[in-house]
């Protein structure tokens, strides 16, 4: 915390929930959250660079420990995709699922860093007053992923069924091809197409954001005195341990939904 702030609960929380925003034009839209972009970019660079470095010398003989770890991960993802998507998954869907899982997992895992310690580091080492280290608690990040998947979904729908087939499906499923039910079908599909990216991104965002808020509340409690410190610390430990589950689970769910949506796009009704 910077010294010029008066430490009140609302200023504490506001401070932690303010993005490191960089304006690039007029209007609210034309700004970049540098914290989200830098952290997610660095995580992507380091994680996937590391994976690339390990698998560059992949042997089909006895694997080293590093290679075995990557293989476990890859086979886990491949098994999940195999169960949902029927087709040539190795070319795009399975690597996509791996990317989503690993990247989201790493971005979620930034939540494990102790917020106030990191806030001090960002301020005094990097000179950034506002810095949110968890990219997935930024709705821009989760929407970016969900909308990318959404566009891929539409792309694959059109690629597999053709533009005519896709439009036909918009109007003729799920209730049938009778012209009387066309409006109902279209409305149904419209709601589905809107709700998919919303639920996809908001589920991840909500979980990570709520996790961050609870850490902040516990941090606030810890500042109220000895009892608060003890309970805040204890509950903080409990929440952190529970958060390990949430971090992995949300990454897994995000990956599974990605695969399910894309698999659905490949199927004709």
């Amino acid at each position: 915390m910077s010294t010029e702030h008066v430490l009140t609960p609302s200023s504490y929380i506001t401070h932690h929930l303010t993005f490191n925003s960089q304006s690039i034009g007029n209007g609210g839209f034309w700004s970049l959250h540098m914290d989200t972009l830098v952290v997610s970019g660095l995580l992507g660079l380091v994680t996937f660079g590391l994976m690339w470095w390990i698998v560059r010398g992949a042997t089909s003989g006895v694997p080293g420990k590093r290679q075995a770890a990557i293989e476990l991960l890859v086979e886990f993802v491949d098994d999940q995709v195999k169960g949902i998507f029927h087709g040539d998954r190795s070319k795009f869907i399975a690597p996509l699922a791996l990317t989503v899982f690993v990247w989201v997992l790493m971005m979620n895992a930034m939540d494990f860093l102790p917020i106030d310690v990191m806030a001090w580091v960002y301020e005094h080492v990097f000179g950034q007053e506002h810095f949110r280290a968890v990219p997935t608690s930024d709705i821009n990040a989760t929407f970016a992923l969900a909308l990318s998947v959404w566009f891929l979904m539409i792309f694959f729908s059109i690629k597999v069924k053709g533009l005519g087939g896709w439009i036909h499906e918009l109007f003729c499923s799920p209730f049938g091809s009778n012209p009387l039910v066309w409006p109902a079908n279209f409305l149904f599909n419209l709601i589905e197409y809107v709700s998919k990216p919303l639920s996809h991104s908001l589920r991840l965002f909500g979980n990570m954001y709520a996790g961050e808020i609870i850490f902040l509340l516990l941090g606030m409690w810890a500042a109220t005195g000895l009892v608060g410190t003890i309970f805040g610390a204890l509950l903080g430990v409990g929440w952190s341990i529970f958060h390990i589950l949430i971090v992995v689970l949300q990454a897994f769910i995000f990956m599974m939904l990605t695969v399910v949506y894309l698999a659905m796009a490949h199927e004709s009704h």
């Binding site: 959250h33 972009l37 997610s40 690339w52």
Partner: protein, 156 residues
Amino acid sequence: MDITFTLIAQALTFAILIWFTAKFVWPPVMSAIENRQKTIADGLAAAERGKHDLDLAAKRSAELLREAKEKAADILAAGDKRASEIIEAAKLQAKVEADRIIAGATAEIEQEAFRAKEQLRSQVSAIALAGAAKILGREVDSKAHNDLLDKLVAEM
């Protein structure tokens, strides 16, 4: 909670990461895994085949052993038979030989006896003549009694 250009920048990063994973991370791992799976499957198949071959070889060797034992038993039996045959033949031959020798010996003995008899017979007349001369006290004219003596010799 505002949507900003961050979204698009983030989507761009995402696209690059997908491309990177699909091009550089996924293929080498998958090919390594698939190659290993193939190697393991081949190894298992080879082991299965080896086991099968071993079974066959064991069966074959047992068969060969049994055949060899049978053959050995046959050879032993044939050998025994041949030996007894040879012994029988030898016995028969020996008997024939012995009979022949005995017959020869008998004939020789008879011949010898006959010769002795002849010799004896030829001397009997002289002994008889000498005996008679002693009894008569005088010389017997052998010429005069030759007929008589010959008759006597012939009777003996």
